[in-house]
């Protein structure tokens, strides 16, 4: 439970930054080297590496060094956990909205008839 909450906290923290979200989006296509990932961003490598470290600590990405090249890839399971949390919230509101619609369209109409 602690692990679950901690990892969810870290995941949402990591996703709260546009650069880091861009990195995740980019890695969804396929793994990439740090150099390749950093290229589109107008920031120094040290700043970019900080973002990568946050992502790695959150468990959203994993990196692996082969020779002089560090390759990054997305950890789908960790990303899915953050997504499923949002999915649960969505389901709750969807359910509530559906119940409201059903209530207004049927029961309230009937109540009004009785009232009136």
């Amino acid at each position: 439970m602690v692990t679950f909450h901690t990892s969810l906290d870290a995941a949402f923290h990591a996703l709260a930054d546009p650069t880091r979200r861009a990195v995740i989006s980019r890695l969804m296509a396929r793994p990439a080297s740090v150099k390749e990932l950093a290229a589109p961003f107008a920031m120094g490598l040290p700043a970019f590496l900080k973002h990568l470290r946050v992502l790695e600590e959150s468990g959203l990405i994993a990196t692996e060094k082969t020779g002089r090249v560090r390759t990054c890839r997305v950890e789908i399971e960790q990303l899915a956990e953050a997504e499923s949390w949002l999915g649960e919230q969505r389901a709750l509101w969807q359910g509530r909205t559906d119940r409201l619609a059903a209530y207004v369209e049927t029961r309230m109409a009937r109540d009004d008839t009785h009232d009136g």
């Binding site: 989006s25 997504e83 509101w93 509530r96 029961r107 309230m108």
Partner: protein
């Protein structure tokens, strides 16, 4: 993932005019009927429809005691059009420390002979989860899941 992932937008057409939907939202006896999924019972404690007004609902299962559910504050109230409330505050703008921080914006737009109903729910992040634990709201996974199911509605 995109920036919008912190927000959820639910929209649908309701085959009744905004006035009827507004009634279902704004009268406690109606709200209690759809705000929480059955068989959990909902009690509307406060539904003070004005900016700064409280929005408090309780819930119970199996004829047990009524437990805290939602304690929020309305930010904006435009009859038959728009409602916004947040769990960041309770009645009278008093700062709150909710388990789950969110702001919900509900809009009703006339469409054909009915209503286009939308709920946009803005989240920060579940960063309060650990604090939630230290406050002793739950004992373990079972309770967490029960709470999630039960708090569900609290998301409102």
């Amino acid at each position: 993932m995109t920036a919008e992932d912190a927000d959820l937008t639910i929209a649908r057409f309701i085959d009744a005019p905004p006035a009827a939907v507004w009634q279902a939202w704004s009268r406690p006896e109606h709200l209690a009927r759809w705000w929480i999924p059955a068989p959990i019972e909902c009690r509307v404690v406060t539904l003070d429809l004005r900016p700064g007004g409280g929005f408090v609902t309780k819930m119970r299962e199996d004829d047990g005691p009524f437990k805290p559910h939602l304690d929020a504050c309305f930010l904006e109230v435009v009859p038959e059009r728009r409602l916004a409330f947040t769990t960041a505050l309770s009645a009278g703008w008093r700062p709150a420390e909710p388990w789950l921080l969110l702001t919900a914006i509900v809009t009703l737009e006339p469409e054909r002979r009915g209503t286009r109903y939308a709920a946009r729910v803005l989240h920060k992040s579940p960063a309060d989860a650990r604090r939630h634990e230290t406050l002793g709201f739950h004992d373990g996974w079972g309770t967490v899941i029960d709470q999630l199911a039960a708090l569900a509605p609290r998301l409102g």
